[in-house]
């Protein structure tokens, strides 16, 4: 299932702890649900360990003019601390701060943020800003971060972000989605070009695991669209899909839905 695999959960956990995923190979036998629960526990623990200082920082941000707060934050606050402090902001103040920060810094903060801890802030960020930061995060290949934000951005922001991403980027993000409930919404937003890019990316970058999970998760309508695009994708892509299935890299279910 997309986003629920052990591999993607370990990637998210590694990101949270600031270590390479390989360092957490010992967690391979753990179920995705339990890894997700552990990640939530660690997020809570890290926040609670310094809640008093995050609270002070948030109070200071409210006590000074917003322009000063944004400038000082960007100048001296490491993104991780800014992200955790933002959890204590009211959404209106957060949006005012966001408007005054650079895309690069905002991307750094987003990369350090657990959006599930401040959903009201995330949903209030304007679509055009989400798209700009999304493009920057994609340039940095922050798929895990982007996958976590998908659950919380507004529909308009999701549309704006999907428009600036390639099919390859969207395929990589789909693999680490925290919540697959918006997969249908994303699929509706895809252009034919992006769907074609998904298939080409699977072939060129060996993203069969990602494609397998995506196809398995899609509803019939969107899986049919992928199959239709595969029909016109050319011999090279079709052969690659067949070869991936023969090699066991693309499962029977996904192959059956693609190569109708």
């Amino acid at each position: 299932m997309v986003g629920s695999s052990v591999a993607s959960e370990i990637e998210k956990l590694a990101h949270q702890l600031g270590v390479p995923a390989e360092q957490l190979a010992c967690l391979d036998p753990i179920s995705p649900e339990q890894l997700r629960e552990l990640r939530a526990q660690i997020g809570d623990a890290l926040f609670e360990a310094e809640r008093h200082r995050f609270t002070r920082m948030a109070l200071l941000s409210k006590a000074v003019p917003v322009a000063v707060a944004a400038k000082v934050s960007e100048a001296v606050l490491p993104p991780l601390l800014a992200a955790r402090t933002a959890e204590l902001f009211d959404p209106h103040r957060a949006v005012e701060m966001v408007a005054r920060m650079s895309d690069a810094y905002l991307a750094n903060v987003a990369a350090a943020m657990d959006p599930s801890r401040s959903p009201e802030v995330v949903v209030a960020i304007p679509p055009e800003r989400v798209a700009l930061v999304g493009r920057e995060l994609a340039r940095r290949r922050e798929w895990v971060v982007m996958g976590a934000f998908v659950s919380f951005v507004s529909p308009a922001a999701l549309r704006a972000a999907v428009q600036v991403l390639t099919g390859e980027q969207l395929l990589r993000i789909s693999f680490v989605l925290d919540d697959t409930n918006r997969l249908a919404e994303i699929s509706e937003l895809l252009s034919d070009r992006q769907v074609d890019q998904i298939l080409q990316a699977a072939m060129r970058h060996e993203l069969w695991r990602e494609l397998d999970e995506l196809v398995g998760e899609l509803g019939d309508k969107h899986a049919d669209r992928l199959a239709e695009r595969l029909d016109v994708a050319g011999a090279e892509v079709c052969s690659a899909v067949t070869a991936a299935h023969a090699a066991g890299r693309l499962g029977d279910v996904a192959y059956g839905r693609l190569a109708r």
Partner: protein, 68 residues
């Protein structure tokens, strides 16, 4: 070892994590502890830097709020 991880998390870890070998749980506790320590160091530096960076007229407020 399980106590150390539980202590850092502030709760019992999920059942499958709790059932891991002692050594694995110890490794995990070490990683969580390192992340927490790093966060503490980053906050120390950030507090000091904020005081130096806010405009002079606002520094007394900043000191009072941050307790620095």
């Amino acid at each position: 070892v399980s106590d150390r991880l539980s202590e850092l998390l502030g709760t019992e870890p999920p059942a499958e994590i709790a059932a891991l070998p002692d050594r694995t749980r110890a490794q995990l506790a070490q990683l969580v502890g390192a992340a927490r320590a790093q966060q503490g160091r980053d906050l120390d530096m950030a507090f000091a830097a904020v005081i130096k960076t806010v405009p002079l007229p606002l520094r007394p407020i900043a000191r009072r709020i941050l307790g620095a």
